[in-house]
Symmetry: C2
Subunit: 233 residues, 2 copies
């Protein structure tokens, strides 16, 4: 891989870029776990810290963009390297979005302080764990440039979608039986949707990793974002 | 602007890239309008056509990515030009996402064939128009590299957020009064959320245009994505 690079430290630059992506991924994963923990514990302070912490992700993405511009302008990389640099840029953008979803979940915590009785809520932590794992595994696949690991992440999305569909139906039924919980249930529905979208974004990352490594698109599948839960009633 | 370019046709290449972005923007705007029209007319065929048509946006984004790689590899652009190329790439990514939201709205049309009685539904077309206009204006600002026009788009987001907050409250109240509409109302809530997110994405584009033209970030504002409607009850 090092052949073709005029300057020895190009690979170091690239490694730095990838380290930045990994750092962003770690923060996003923590934000997902933290937001759901804050929700479960009704901890508005922890939730506020997650909202605040999202700025770090924004800052790192901007930093990565600057590095990309510098790297391309200074090194004039060949097409293959260029594709890898642009993949890192794109993946950083997706991680930033994942952070936004986690922040959005955290922002709903203060609105859900009296949601204790809503049973479907108990499914959320498991769903969040499955989602955060997808993010983790997608970034591991990116770091290892491992197309098989990437495919496994794509397969995991089905689990997250199943969680979402179950939750959607459970919350709808719950709302009908307990109209006074409609407001809280609606926020939980949006939280479940945010997690489902995070799963889609992790899948996007995995698809990019797979494509970069093999030159082949992952076969078309029913994307979570588009899998609409059947109307429960 | 042309000074500094070694090859005369670099500007032509750049113009081609920008034309591709404009084409994508036009398609995304049509998809928003079309999805809401399909919803209003209970036209499942029109909705299916919009879902299908989203592939064109995906294809154009992939085409733009290829052009970007070719352009950078062949021309080794200077930092300023590079930033503009990367901005086009980023904006194309945002438009692709806007298309996804429009597709997501269209996918809900078959689930909402018996939503005729739900009053808050009547607000959606006006909200969709305001949103599609934001997308249109953001891309006009991009084409004209006009930071003032970009700022106006950012200001428009407030209107879309107000629509969303009104709809959120109206739908929640409606659900409580008519528990048998909970399922349909939930889908409408997600559609309103999709429109609100489209407004955020249009704002993102406008912010990028503003930054590219002035080097200054648009002042922090209460972002729509994060403006959570107060709990109505």
């Amino acid at each position: 891989m090092a052949t073709g690079h005029i300057l020895k430290s190009f690979d170091e630059d690239l490694a730095e870029l990838r380290a930045l992506v990994a750092q962003m991924g770690g923060l996003a994963e923590e934000a997902i776990d933290g937001a759901i923990a804050a929700l479960a514990n009704r901890d508005t302070e922890a939730a506020a810290a997650i909202v605040e912490g999202d700025r770090t992700l924004d800052r790192l993405e901007a930093e990565l963009e600057r590095q990309v511009v510098r790297l391309i302008a200074l090194r004039a990389p060949l097409a293959d390297d260029l594709r890898e640099i642009l993949a890192a840029l794109k993946i950083a953008g997706v991680i930033e979005r994942i952070g936004d979803y986690a922040k959005n979940i955290a922002k709903r915590v203060p609105l859900l302080l009296d949601s204790r009785g809503i049973e479907p809520l108990s499914i959320l932590p498991a769903m969040a764990r499955a989602t955060a794992e997808m993010v983790h595994d997608a970034l591991d696949a990116f770091a290892a440039r491992d197309p098989d690991a990437a495919l496994k992440v794509c397969a995991q999305d089905r689990v997250v979608d199943d969680f979402y569909n179950s939750l959607f139906r459970a919350l709808l039924t719950y709302m009908m039986e307990n109209p006074h919980t409609i407001s809280a249930s609606t926020h939980l529905l949006f939280i479940a949707k945010n997690l489902e979208r995070i799963g889609d974004h992790a899948t996007n990352i995995a698809e990019m990793v797979h494509f970069a490594a093999t030159g082949e698109q992952v076969a078309e599948r029913g994307r979570g974002a588009d899998t609409l839960a059947p109307v429960a009633a």
